[in-house]
């Protein structure tokens, strides 16, 4: 057996182990899928909307909050304009008559905007909703029951993408659905380590006790979740509480967003490296180490496959060049079962593919998603792994050179929201 094969077998074993572990966790906890009953006396909730140049979509975000099925007197909506140069502030102000509080400040980043919001928040629970996201009317009610247990400091929703329009968005639709599945599984393992920016609900007392958002990081949502885990509190997930964000529409914006996320993940993991310990349960023993190993394994697979692909195609190109690309008669291929690849690695790969499809199916079912996904899944299977590795390599480079990462902008007139 060659070294390359040994590596591929090890990587496959690791991937299969994780997939089975997560699947088994979901099966083990299948009776706990239903959200806990909400309390008779609902707590006051503050939703903060930090916004910077979001004129194209902020109205829809605020509208979705105003349509939330929650007693209006218990719901405080705060829009924090973070030094926008467009009409964001003007649009937000037009909602003041509907009871929306609008704050404005010079541009300082999302963390600073949220901290300003926290100063004005009156709710016992606080949530943040990015200004490019919309929330389903019943999402908050579905999440609220989890706060019945004192140890629960945060509840995450199911973050999904709006209807995709191009290949990059199709890839993200599946990625987000996989996130829905994994976040539910991680909640059973007490191991949620990313609370998505759009509409994670927190107990305000956590901020009062341990400070507001960390403004030094580019991913404050990862920092806050690791901080919660670090203090041995719990993060829950309401899998059918849907929040929709617009997927990044271009390769460039997607790359910027992912490099920021992954760099932020690296920064925060370095800050909370003590979490890599069995003292923190499954999170420290398995989930965090496997998150790191998955980067390594994905990089190994992609690098090795690329090497093989280049080597084979280089030889093919030389061969074709030597017959002046006259391949007409060489193209007559006879069908023969013999040439179907039935190697152990291929069979294990097929098993992984089936598990992957099962994971998407479960995520779709759990979050009651109705969007057709076949085409998106095919694109995801072909493109995601190389993209994932590319983003990680860029993020590692940005981390090593301590390069500032940009926020991904998008053409706002391209935005379309739909409850699906």
């Amino acid at each position: 057996m060659e070294i390359g094969e040994i590596i591929l077998y090890s990587v496959s074993y690791f991937g299969l182990y994780c997939a089975i572990f997560f699947m088994l966790t979901l099966i083990e906890n299948r009776k706990k899928i239903k959200n806990p009953k909400r309390p008779k006396k609902l707590p006051p909730v503050t939703v903060m909307v930090p916004a910077c140049n979001e004129e194209a979509c902020i109205a829809k975000t605020i509208d979705s909050l105003l349509e939330l099925n929650y007693p209006k007197k218990l719901l405080q909506i705060i829009v924090i304009d973070d030094g926008s140069k467009d009409n964001t502030l003007k649009i937000a102000k037009s909602y003041e008559k509907k009871g929306v509080t609008v704050l404005t400040k010079p541009n300082g980043g999302k963390g600073t905007a949220l901290n300003l919001g926290l100063e004005h928040a009156k709710g016992k629970l606080v949530a943040c909703l990015d200004a490019d996201s919309v929330v389903e009317p019943n999402a908050l009610l579905k999440m609220i029951g989890y706060f019945g247990r004192k140890k629960v400091m945060a509840v995450t929703p199911s973050l999904k993408c709006t209807r995709p329009k191009n290949i990059w968005q199709r890839v993200q639709v599946i990625e987000f659905l996989l996130g829905v599945y994994l976040r539910k599984v991680f909640s059973y393992l007490g191991s949620i380590h990313v609370t998505p920016g759009p509409f994670t609900v927190f107990r305000k007392e956590f901020f009062d006790k341990y400070g507001g958002y960390d403004t030094s990081t580019c991913t404050e949502d990862i920092e806050i979740s690791l901080r919660i885990q670090s203090h041995q509190y719990e993060i829950e997930n309401a899998v059918d509480a849907n929040v929709y964000a617009v997927a990044m529409p271009t390769f460039r914006t997607l790359k910027k967003q992912r490099v920021r996320w992954y760099k932020g993940f690296l920064e925060n993991v370095a800050k909370y490296k003590h979490l890599f310990s069995p003292k923190y349960g499954n999170l420290g023993l398995f989930v965090m180490p496997s998150a790191f190993l998955s980067i390594l394994t994905a990089t190994t697979i992609v690098t090795y496959s690329t090497y093989l692909m280049i080597k084979t195609n280089y030889q093919r190109a030389i061969n074709l060049y030597n017959v002046n690309f006259d391949v007409w008669k060489l193209l007559k291929i006879r069908w023969d079962w013999f040439y179907i690849n039935q190697s152990p690695l291929m069979l294990i790969g097929m098993i992984s593919l089936v598990i992957g499809i099962l994971m998407i199916y479960l995520a779709k079912r759990l979050s009651k998603e109705k969007m057709p996904l076949t085409y998106s899944y095919i694109l995801f299977s072909m493109l995601y792994l190389p993209l994932y590795v590319f983003w990680w390599l860029m993020a590692i480079k940005a981390r090593i050179y301590d390069k500032d990462v940009e926020w991904a902008g998008r053409k706002r007139n391209d935005v379309e929201y739909k409850y699906m």
């Binding site: 089975i20 572990f21 059973y188 393992l189 069995p278 923190y280 030889q315 030597n322 008669k329």
Partner: protein
């Protein structure tokens, strides 16, 4: 904090299950590989029988053998076996014992067919061009893959050309005799009838050589 408890039994159970699936995958994959090798073995046996049958056919119809002999189906079987052996060699490695054993058998069958073709050419006045090609799958022959590809192209474009490819590193007395006879010194090496090229031969030169032997290129219209 009951949910954060580490359930070691679950970790072990998943380890057991993963190992089981993994071993099952490897066993199944190896089973398919062994079935494929058996298939090649059967192909070799069929070829052996067919070649023997043809030799006997010569003796039976000794009055006028040329009217009854048709070499083409056996040659096609040989190419099929070669292509499958090549596939298995790529998959299982050139040092795999089963593959090596099958390659030895294949080389002998090729030599037998080559001799038969020579006989047909001589006794029946046929004008088939017979090419012997020596290659190596080890790192010492970087041009062998391309040389093999060009020869496949020649074979497909010139139907009267028959190519017999031999792994230079395979040891058997018949092959050693051929190597001595045609003064083969390394790889790639090509013998066209009696002319030996101890080097890489490009498409242009090969086409010229087979044309000199009377081979005619098949046109696209003819194939259609």
């Amino acid at each position: 904090m009951s949910r954060q408890k580490i359930d070691m039994n679950k970790y072990l159970a998943v380890f057991g299950l993963t190992t089981l699936i993994f071993i099952a995958g490897i066993a199944l994959g190896n089973y398919f590989s062994s079935q494929k090798l058996r298939h090649i073995d059967y192909l070799g046996q069929d070829l052996k029988v067919d070649t023997l049958a043809m030799e006997l056919q010569y003796d039976i119809v000794s009055e006028n053998p040329c009217e009854h002999i048709n070499n083409t189906p056996i040659a096609e079987e040989l190419y099929d076996m070669a292509s499958k052996l090549d596939y298995m060699e790529n998959r299982m490695g050139e040092k795999n014992r089963d593959v090596l054993e099958l390659k030895k058998q294949y080389s002998l069958l090729e030599i037998r067919h080559w001799l038969l073709m020579k006989k047909t050419n001589k006794e029946c006045g046929k004008n088939n061009t017979l090419i012997l090609y020596f290659y190596s799958n080890e790192d010492d022959c970087p041009t062998c893959q391309t040389q093999g590809f060009i020869l496949t192209w020649i074979r497909k474009n010139y139907p009267s050309v028959y190519v017999y490819a031999f792994d230079y590193n395979i040891k058997n007395s018949a092959l050693d005799t051929i190597k001595d006879l045609y003064r083969i010194k390394g790889t790639p090496a090509i013998v066209i009838d009696k002319k030996t090229f101890n080097r890489f031969v490009d498409k242009k030169e090969l086409e010229q050589a087979v044309r000199e032997k009377g081979a005619k290129k098949v046109t696209t219209e003819l194939i259609a």
